[in-house]
Amino acid sequence: MTAAAARSRADIGIGRITVGVRSSNEAFLQLLEERYAGFIERTASPDYEFEVELTPPGEGSADDDVRVYRKNGRWQLERGDFCAEWDPAARRGRIRQSANPYSIDTVLRIVHTLVLAREGGFLLHAASAVRKGKAFVFAGVSGAGKTTLSRMAPADADVLSDEISYLRKEAGGYYAYGTPFAGELARVGENLRAPLATVYLLNQGAENRVSSMGKAEAARGILTNTLFFAADVELVQAVFLSALELVERVPVRRLTFLPETGIWELIQ
């Protein structure tokens, strides 16, 4: 890669998948390098590449619903604040958005969801952390306690994310990866990977308790928190079956907890 090429693209590596974001606007690229610090790579050839066309600020709203659908073999990704097209066969795409990192953040989440779906992985509304070489995932809707648990993580735990957990099926089992997709902590996760030991479904209560649960209840809990962006039957089927396979192979527990640091003593 030449120095000039390096300045025209930010390569963001998450879950061993590198997405190159190309722009002629150096300030935007600098913004990305800061936003995704810890996940920026230097590679000659990213796995996927997007050309960003920047629009004036204030165009469209990030509060609109996301639409993801296929048209002529290409994925169309749309929300008020961005419009993107991605050709998975060519591994290239275009994004039209303002210089807003939240727009590209959503595009990256969608692209990773689409890529992972083909590989038995998926993104989960969950905090996650690595402790003693094992990954623990804490799934729950907004307000369930993901950020609280992340904030209370002990010194020997590395937080992978306080909001969106990245799960991949690999030889030997499932692995959790760190992501820069931050929640209320507004802090990117650690760029680490570890074998997935347990998924906990969060439930704040009057005591700290880990309880077992049946496969069906576990499946409902996982599926409820799985990110499905596209109204696409093939994609939904792939992610659905991946989530259920994880339930078959990885322990899923109910974690009832008080917002106190002692809860981490139960995590193992």
């Binding site: 049946g214 496969k215 069906a216 576990a218 109204a231 093939e234 259920l244």
Partner: protein, 106 residues
């Protein structure tokens, strides 16, 4: 009910049996449904060509001590509800090759 009705699994869903329940997800909006044991039996037997009454008689009345007329009435109500959610097709005519195969966990 004295007419034949036919049920078929919708094509745009993902479905799998896990933990004794049939989990079904709509491909249109990712809505999740879970069916209990008897509803799962109905879902799995919904091949589009076997009349609902025959499904109830063979798969439900044969295994459960239930009144056949009541079982059929319950099955029709369930079918209508699932049809409203778009995950089951309900018709007065056969619906051959209309849905995905049922899948069960190993």
């Amino acid at each position: 009910m004295n007419r034949n009705r036919y049920v078929a699994r919708a094509a745009n869903v993902a479905a799998r049996m896990i933990g004794g329940e049939m989990m079904i997800m709509s491909g249109a909006d990712s809505s999740l449904y879970s069916l209990n044991e008897t509803a799962s039996i109905l879902w799995q037997a919904a091949d589009g060509v076997t009349p609902l009454a025959q499904i109830v008689e063979k798969h439900i009345c044969g295994d459960y001590a239930v009144d056949p007329a009541m079982a059929l009435r319950d099955a029709e109500e369930l079918s209508e509800e699932l049809a409203r959610h778009g995950i089951l097709l309900l018709s007065d005519d056969p619906l051959p090759d209309s849905g995905p195969p049922s899948k069960a966990s190993p």
